[in-house]
């Protein structure tokens, strides 16, 4: 495959990682909560689309929107009722709770929908190829890339330019200070968690063509999502974007050239990176 093609393929994979992981980065940075169930929300997004398209006859884009809304609502509810009780608990309790939650999600999907792999039918306009001038490439991948970049831009603007974003940044850097300045941290957490999980749902649905979709999804990609977040830095939208891009492209290239040892290189790279910079490539020290 030519260089442009390899790059675009990796770019698309990276954008899926970004859309899923960015919420995890913000919620972990904001709440200091080790949320191993995040991939579960992505999976639920994918399954919402499958069911909505099959049984309610919704189109791809409408189903994607529904996945965002439905999963965001569910996540907001879970945050209020369960997650919020564990903010002050240790990592261990959080790990345990979220692993439990993943198991429940996996089992619920297996029982309700079945253990087999699902495919999400792409709309016709995404299935062909598009001529970019210098290269022809799958329209679907280009849509994923465009969505990822657009979301990154929107999130970046939202973070830097809106009051809501300013509050989140303040709370990530110093929660107590933000609270004393009158930020309603509890509500901030719920809304951020809901949006972050909703985005994961979008990533799960939109990226199903790339990452696949079956009940084991949350555990299979857990390490990848965590790596993207850890490398990108907690609570850093731009950091997660570049980390996802890096990992996506690397993984894509390595899987073509070294189908067996490619993943090993990514783990080794992460290990070295985190040892040199425990706060991540783009994270701020001590934040």
């Amino acid at each position: 495959m030519d260089i442009a093609g390899v790059f675009l393929g990796g770019f698309a994979a990276g954008m899926v990682l970004f859309i899923v992981s960015v919420g995890l980065s913000v919620t972990m940075g904001l709440m200091g909560f080790v949320n191993l169930a995040h991939g579960g929300f992505a999976m639920l997004g994918g399954y919402t689309m499958v069911l909505a398209m099959k049984h309610a006859g919704l189109g791809f884009v409408a189903a994607l929107a529904l996945a965002f809304v439905a999963v965001a609502l569910l996540a907001g509810l879970l945050e209020r009722t369960l997650y919020a009780r564990l903010y002050r608990a240790g990592e261990l309790d959080q790990v345990l709770f979220t692993i439990g939650l993943v198991f429940v999600m996996i089992a619920a999907i297996t029982l309700g929908v079945g253990p087999e792999t699902q495919t999400i039918r792409l709309p016709d306009w995404m299935r062909g190829e598009t001529d970019l001038g210098f290269v022809r490439y799958r329209t679907y991948s280009l849509v994923v890339i465009a969505t990822g970049v657009a979301l990154a831009l929107a999130l970046w603007l939202g973070f830097e330019r809106t009051r809501f974003g300013a509050r989140i940044r303040a709370a990530v850097d110093n929660r107590r200070m933000a609270a004393s300045l009158g930020v309603d941290v509890g509500r901030l957490f719920t809304v951020t968690f809901a949006i972050g999980s909703g985005l994961a749902a979008v990533g799960g649905g939109l990226g199903a063509e790339i990452l696949g979709l079956d009940p084991n999804y949350p555990l299979r990609y857990l390490a990848y999502f965590l790596i993207v977040v850890a490398v990108g830095g907690l609570g850093r939208v731009t950091g997660v974007f570049f980390a996802a891009l890096l990992i996506g492209v690397l993984d894509f290239v390595l899987k073509i050239h070294f189908p067996k040892g490619g993943t090993m290189f990514i783990y080794a790279l992460t290990l070295v990176l985190l040892l040199a910079r425990p706060q991540g490539l783009f994270g701020r020290k001590g934040a």
Binding site: F103, M264, P278
Partner: protein, 333 residues
């Protein structure tokens, strides 16, 4: 009730002494040998898992190191025994276990030296990556490790030149695993009641204060991590010897998360939590998982959520207030 510093000191000075109920797990294990002679393969697996959970308790329960990569050491031990037997003809069991412990300890020491500078999410990630790295290495080095298929059909010499491995009923393996578990347990018990163990608890409870009393925190953690790795390596080695095979499953996230779940269900930082957790979990799994695998996973998930929210000290934590009331009543009479 006695009061005052001297009384408290007296209780502190006596807390490491053996209590009568500490004989129960060993009596039960020996009794099971005679009562369930056809289940000893499962029993051996249980004993190996208890040892693995016990090794995790030392770092997670006592030192408070939250790791998702403990299977790295179990796997290192298992592959050491497997590869030595398959390629080097080194199939004497006890020295095999020693080699497993040495390799796992070396990996634990080297990784601990660099990993334990970090904490929280970073540490969690690093332990996960270390394990994934080993898993991928085992997957790639197929000439040595058998790759995805692993190394089947391992054969071992008689234990101490006397007891032949019992391929059919696992009688020898069961008693062998029980003896090894007992020896390792004695070591762990000695450690946790020592000043060293006390200082690990101090690190878990408040690392800032531990620095402020002048304790060499990182050294203590690396030592604990290395010992724990060695014990996990022994568990892995035992697994390979008892079952006669090694494959990638010994190194995975499933095994790491599974042993952590068992330990926490039983009650971490309690020495016997590893026993209670592993036995309860594996027994239930044995009965339920084969018949209703999905319902089993759902049940475990719900259980974990409940434990995290309401019973953070596990089964033993729930039992403690009852035991205390019982002891108080006896003392009062």
């Amino acid at each position: 009730m006695m009061r005052g510093a001297a009384a408290a000191a007296e209780a502190f000075a006596r807390r490491h002494r053996l209590r009568w109920w500490e004989a129960l797990p060993w009596i039960a294990a020996l009794a099971a040998f005679f009562v369930f002679p056809t289940y000893l393969s499962f029993g051996t697996q249980l004993l190996v898992t208890v040892l693995f959970a016990l090794s995790l308790d030392l770092v997670l329960g006592y030192a408070g190191i939250v790791t998702l990569g403990h299977a790295a050491f179990f796997g290192a031990g298992a592959y050491t025994v497997g590869m030595l037997a398959a390629h080097a003809g080194w199939n004497e069991p006890l020295s095999g276990l020693a080699a497993a412990a040495a390799v796992a300890a070396t990996i634990g020491f080297l990784s601990g030296l660099v990993l334990l500078r970090t904490h929280g999410l970073t540490l969690l990630m690093l332990t996960l990556c270390t394990m994934a790295l080993l898993e991928q290495a085992a997957n790639m080095g197929a000439a040595w490790t058998g790759g995805f298929d692993g190394i089947p059909g391992l054969k071992f010499q008689k234990i101490l030149g006397l007891f032949e491995f019992d391929v059919l009923y696992f009688r020898t393996q069961y008693l062998y695993a029980l003896a090894v578990l007992f020896a390792c347990f004695v070591l762990v018990r000695t450690l946790v009641y020592s000043s060293f163990g006390q200082s690990l608890t101090g690190v878990r409870e408040n690392v800032l204060r531990m620095h402020a009393v002048g304790a060499p925190v990182r050294t203590r953690l690396v030592v604990a991590y290395t010992i724990s790795a060695a014990l996990a390596g022994v568990a892995g080695g035992l697994f390979a010897q008892a079952t006669g095979f090694v494959n990638l499953a010994v190194l995975g996230l499933d095994r790491s998360a599974g042993v952590m779940i068992m330990l926490i269900l039983g009650g971490y930082g309690r020495l016997y939590g590893a026993f209670v957790g592993a036995v309860a979990f594996l027994l239930l799994e044995h009965v339920l998982a084969k018949a209703y695998p999905t319902a089993w996973q759902l049940g475990v998930g719900v259980l974990l959520v409940l434990v995290a929210l309401y019973a953070r000290n596990g089964i033993l934590g729930l039992a403690e207030p009852l035991a205390r009331r019982f002891a108080a009543r006896r003392g009062g009479v």
